[in-house]
């Protein structure tokens, strides 16, 4: 009644081939990461540097486990292929279970503790008192940025006044004085090395605000005002994209973050307040 024999199950062929494939997998993966073939763009804020540091730590730990586990698997397959000798009977080992359980636990615990700082830096810290306030409004499939103007206060918004074709995409209440000097722009322009406090809101569905170079991603949710802070320390033009599925124009929804010098920033404010 035995149909399994050395003929179809125990030959060295599959063992060798599988071992080779696993070794290629490990070698190729290690090469891509070691040679930095597909690096993330270089970070432009200290928070992003912290995140990169945590990412790298995780990469070393996960990478080491990946290499050991896949090569271990390859070794076991090759070494213990059926060569006619009986299997070594064992039901397990409590000592081994305890060892690898506690090792894994400690590794994850350390990673978690080390990673807290990068998260806290981004999310817990209140904005600096001199931070530039910008309100980000998302709508299908456009970003709109509002600066409070000289008075430092945002004017009142009324959803029933929203009329994008007539030039009032946010529903600014023109009777509210604090809103008279509000600046509304399609791009986000901020001066370099100055803290920025964003307030994210959405008019219709859930959208997202993602800038790769800031390593910053945050949903904007209708009915909520979500604060996020960043300080960009390198001038340049960076892309803002929407990463939350928001409808048929999702892939087209994007804008720019312009990190400029103080002088250019003042010029930007002047230009836009004159045009409104």
């Amino acid at each position: 009644m035995t149909q399994t024999g050395k003929s179809d199950g125990g030959s060295a062929g599959p063992a060798v081939l599988l071992t080779v494939l696993l070794v290629i997998l490990v070698a190729a993966t290690v090469y891509v990461f070691a040679a930095r073939l597909y690096p993330a763009p270089s970070p432009i804020s200290s928070a992003a540097v912290l995140i990169d540091r945590q990412y790298n730590r995780t990469l070393y730990v996960a990478g080491a486990v990946f290499v050991l586990a896949q090569l271990g698997l390859a070794f076991a397959i090759f070494r213990f292929r059926d060569r006619g000798r009986p299997a070594r009977f064992t039901r397990g080992s409590v000592a081994a279970e305890i060892t690898w359980t506690s090792l894994t636990f400690l590794t994850f615990l350390c990673l978690g503790i080390l990673g807290r700082k990068a998260w806290a830096e981004v999310r817990y810290a209140p904005p600096a008192p001199d931070a530039i306030q910008v309100e980000v409004t998302t709508t299908q499939f456009v970003y709109t940025f509002r600066y409070p103007g000289a008075d430092g206060k945002f004017g009142r918004l009324d959803p029933s006044l929203i009329n994008a074709p007539a030039g009032n995409p946010l529903g600014l209440d023109l009777n509210d004085r604090t809103g008279n000097d509000d600046i509304v722009a399609p791009d986000l322009t901020v001066p370099v090395s100055r803290p920025v406090a964003l307030l994210l809101r959405s008019q219709d569905v859930v959208h997202n605000f993602f800038v790769r170079e800031l390593r910053l991603q945050q949903d904007s949710v209708p009915g909520m005002m979500i604060p996020v802070n960043f300080t960009a320390n390198r001038t340049g033009r960076y892309e803002i994209v929407c990463t939350q599925l928001c409808g048929l124009g999702h892939s087209k929804m994007h804008s720019f973050l312009n990190v400029v010098s103080e002088v250019e920033y003042e010029a930007f404010l002047k230009k836009w307040s004159a045009s409104q």
Binding site: P41, L73, R88, N208, S251, H254
Partner: protein, 766 residues
Amino acid sequence: MVGQPVRATHAPAGSSKGFIRSYIFSTDHKVVGLQYFSLALAAVTFGIILSLLMRFHLVWPNAHLPFVGGGIMTPEQYLALVTMHGTIMVFFVLSTAPQSAFGNYFLPIQIGAPDMAFPTLNMLSFWLTLAAFLCMIAAFVVPGGAPISGWTAYPPLSGLGEVTGPGEGLGQTLWIVSISIFCFASLLGALNFIATTIDMRAPGMTLMRMPLTVWAWFVTSILSLLAFSVLLAGGILLLLDRSAGTSFFLPAGLVVNGDLQGHNGGSPLLWQHLFWFFGHPEVYIAILPGMGVVSHILANFSRKPVFGYRAMALALCAIGFLGFLVWGHHMFVSGMNPYSGLAFSVLTMSIGVPSAIKTFNWLGTLWGGKIQFHSPMLFAIGFVSFFVTGGLSGIFLAQPAVDTMLHATYYVVAHFHIVMGVAAVFGIFAATYYWFPKMFGRRMDERLGKLHFWLTFAGVYCVFMPMHFLGIEGGIRRYADSTGAGYLAALQPLHGFMTITAFITAAAQLIFFYNFFHSLKRGERATANPWNATTLEWITSSPPPPDNFGGHFPSVHRGPYEYSVPGEKEDFLPQNLGPEGGGATISREIPQRVYVTGMALLLGGVLMFFMALVSAYFVRKGFSSDWQPLAVPRVLWLGTLILLASSVTLARSRHCLLARQEEEFRHWWGATAILGVFFLAAEAIAWRQLAAGGVSLDGNPSGSFFYVFTAAHALHLLGGIVALLVVALRPTTRLTRRTATEVVSLYWHCMNALWVFLFMLLLAGA
């Protein structure tokens, strides 16, 4: 008598009952299992075609496609493919094949039972699942097409109707209805699996002698029972938001396309919490059965016991339990409180511990073995490799800081496809190659099986490893084209490579289909135990007779993986091998206690459903400014008293039955049903009063919740009244009257207690 197959004494299915009862509306768990398997096979074919269309479009966006109406695929058509591919694969393949198909077929046999605890319910689960599938597919052909909101269906995108995009009209409604039916069917299925495992095991089949497959199906069923009831509650609320004008998930002041929407104060995040409370356990629903199958197969073909069996069983339970505590890691960037993000992160990392235990123990099982490389073994080893790769990429995403850079990029797509999709599918393939001889009495072609493995294993890594790199560079998922952001164009070569390898890998699946269908007819005949395995499915004929063991039901004398035990002649000892050979009894009755177990489980699901609604109530009430207290109609005080009285009459009735006072039993029993009707009447009066007072379902959330709570409870109570009448009027055969009384009483008392809780909640909200 080692491994001697029990001969089939019954005629094969079909000869006595006729074709329809034997193969279509069959209650035989094996037929139901094969029906689920066929459904999953159809669904996976469909899902693969959808994914190939997507991959093609990503690389050649301007090509004319035969399947697409206008020739060139529009963004909404692409997003419809995204949504339907995800939904069909997650629900109708990954939740269906590993659990419902193989679990149905093999769980009863592996524990030595003649069938599931509730065969008719089992059949009903399948037909409901099929109905859900057809309902889902129908979304493609209705005006507006299939929904575009992804398998996660976040409102407001999914909650406002056609105004937010094509497919968000009837298509999205069908999607929600389909998912709700699927949830209900899965609840019934899960209840059946758990009751079967608890009450139908053969003598000697202790928990610690159950095969790890049974452990996996068992834990998965518990997850299904608790998770699907929550999604069902969420689905109903979303449906009400869409069609009845309520505002559970829709906030005030929404302006879509320039039009102000008339909703107030709802919370989009509430849906995300409800969805992911289901959604994360769902990941384990897909993968745990695969883990069980892989442990089972690794032991078999290493000719060694599973290394650390007890730790493996405990790790399954631990993963299942922790799976309910980590849903928030899908929401790090959703606007959720960052402190809860930290808590969810720690809990998520802790799942790494039982996952590592499983991986180490799989390696430990291979270590020192006598490894035989049959097709099922190759796929099981492939599973381990994918589980390691996909699990490790999860450690990045589990940390909120790192997630803010990788969230919603192709990195996430790569991660979950490898760990949940591919690994689970390798589990399904391993199971198919392994159990094919048992299910069909023939063997699959070994050479084609190996060829299928090599191409799929290498192909899948070629598709999904580069996807990580795409994500690290900032490639965004669910983008219909790469023209939105400037940097995306540079990533197109990676897309090209992935598309080409995806087509090759998909083509390799034709080998599997050919092998499968060819072997059904032409495969080499299989013996009862072709793999020299130890568990109970191998002691019966291939395929098994209708009662699974041909009247010779086994007793169990040893653990499930007794391979290469020193000093034994054979290198495998079947579980039924006892001191005096393979002991067997002639018949196995279905114990009456399964009905009580089943009812307790049903109540667990019902409770979870209501708790989801109640948590929605607290969130909605606590985080909105539009809540206005509702004056609960006084007639409900009377209703509550009536309901409490009905519990007394029911207790009295049960007492009379035990005292054999038939007449009194009937009187009190009938009185209970009448009191139940009175309660419903009181509730109807309360609704009329509120409606007359201007409290409507689509008005203030306090009113919406009042109607939802009372209506949901009233429906459940109506079910109780029907059950009371059935017991009173119709004598049952399998179920004794005494058990029926117990079961209905349990349900009735629980519904009454639930009412008291809900009533107090409503009063507190007033």
